[in-house]
């Protein structure tokens, strides 16, 4: 039996530690003499050498009553536009060496989060079967013992029909994993609301 350190809730006060320049307001009025803190992670994943289609992902985190959760944190992991991961286990050549494919956003008072990134390519999946382009979402929130995981899929991808993970999900619930597309000016915006419980709860994965 392994000796894994147990998970504990992120609680309500993480914002100044994990996401200090974020949507969450945390700073007390008198906080003049503040440490010149540089973010370890941001909601903007796009680096100078990133190729591919720039997109924005925007959504809300909602509770069982459909009310916004204003102190959640989200982290995303994704491949680059060529479907390559910035991870030692992925040893294929990677043209976007600075693109880490990792981002972090807190929610604001309306439960809203957003990420600026590029649309990922399709990636190899279990048994060599291709997975449709997708982004892994990890949600941390007060009251949750451990983070929960879900995936964002894109509405304009024929490959969704054969995706080995998406097809594990009952057809009537797959919609919770598929973002809707809008445009703001030139920028494609994918809207992705996450319902942590209740009616139309987002599908979460046990991993």
């Amino acid at each position: 039996m392994s000796e894994i350190t147990p998970s504990q809730t992120v609680g309500p006060f993480f914002a100044y530690g994990l996401a200090p320049h974020s949507r969450c307001e945390w700073r007390p009025e008198q906080g003049k003499d503040v440490y010149d803190w540089k973010n370890t992670a941001t909601a903007d994943l796009v680096t100078a050498d990133t190729s591919g289609t720039k997109i924005r992902i925007e959504g809300r985190v909602l509770d069982g009553d459909g009310m916004p959760i204003n102190d959640a944190m989200l982290e995303i992991w994704q491949a680059d536009a060529q479907g390559r991961y910035a991870h030692p286990a992925d040893n294929r050549p990677r043209p976007n060496t600075r693109f880490m494919g990792f981002g972090r956003s807190a929610t604001d008072k309306n439960g809203v989060f957003s990420f600026d990134t590029i649309k990922p390519g399709s990636v190899p999946g279990p048994n060599g079967k291709a997975q449709a382009p997708h982004i892994v979402f990890c949600i941390f929130s007060r009251g949750m013992l451990r983070q929960i995981y879900t995936r964002l899929y894109f509405p304009d991808e024929a490959a969704n029909a054969g995706d080995p993970i998406l097809t594990l999900v009952p057809p009537d619930r797959r919609g919770t994993l598929i973002a809707s597309k809008e445009t703001q000016g030139e920028m494609p915006v994918y809207r992705f609301d996450i319902r942590v419980q209740g009616d139309n709860e987002t599908v979460f994965f046990e991993i």
Binding site: T9, G17, Q30, D33
Partner: protein, 183 residues
């Protein structure tokens, strides 16, 4: 990341009040192999049990010399080290007379999103353990013990600071990353 991010007592003009402590340890994978170069982030209340976060309305003083956030990159042996002050216990509105034991929040990455861990580090022998639903949300006693740091006399610095050791074991194994890629 920048130099000094792992010393929470040096982020302002003066030193924070409270008991200066060293918190250090190793990050391991499930096979007890060190997890090198991984990001460890912490946040905590000040010595009076007050968070700098504006949602915290506990009537204990803020410390102008303490924010309570730090981070470190574990070295090639998975070793990390922080200098901070011991956080105070504080009340929270969960139930009548509810108090959180002294704790430091930890966020650790590891090899992939599968190993991602957010937890809380406690101090040995805390009298609030039996009453804290968050500590006891981990139902197995042996598992709860893994969230409790150990007093480390050997690394306590004479005339300067007590030391606590907190080793962290993440899910997953570096040697066989494919094995963890099941959903």
């Amino acid at each position: 990341m920048q130099e000094g991010d792992n010393d929470l007592t040096k982020q302002h003009k003066g030193e924070p009040l409270g008991e200066r402590i060293i918190v250090h340890g190793h990050v391991y994978d499930e096979d007890k192999r060190p997890v090198p170069d991984t990001l460890v982030e912490i946040w905590q209340a000040n010595a009076c049990g007050r968070y700098v976060h504006n949602v915290d309305q506990h009537p204990a003083p803020l410390d102008p010399n303490f924010t309570g956030a730090g981070r470190a990159i574990a070295d090639k042996n998975g070793y990390y080290r922080f200098i901070t002050v011991k956080p105070g216990a504080y009340p929270w509105g969960n139930h009548h007379n509810a108090w959180r034991p002294n704790h430091i929040h930890f966020s650790v990455f590891g090899h992939s999103f599968l190993s991602r861990l957010v937890t809380q580090m406690y101090f040995p022998g805390d009298y609030l353990f039996p009453f804290d639903p968050i500590f006891n949300s981990v139902t197995e006693e042996k598992a709860r013990e893994r969230m409790v740091s150990k007093f480390d006399l050997e690394n306590t610095i004479p005339d300067w600071a007590l030391c606590f050791r907190f080793d962290i074991v993440l899910r997953g194994r570096e040697a066989t990353p494919q094995d963890t890629d099941k959903h």
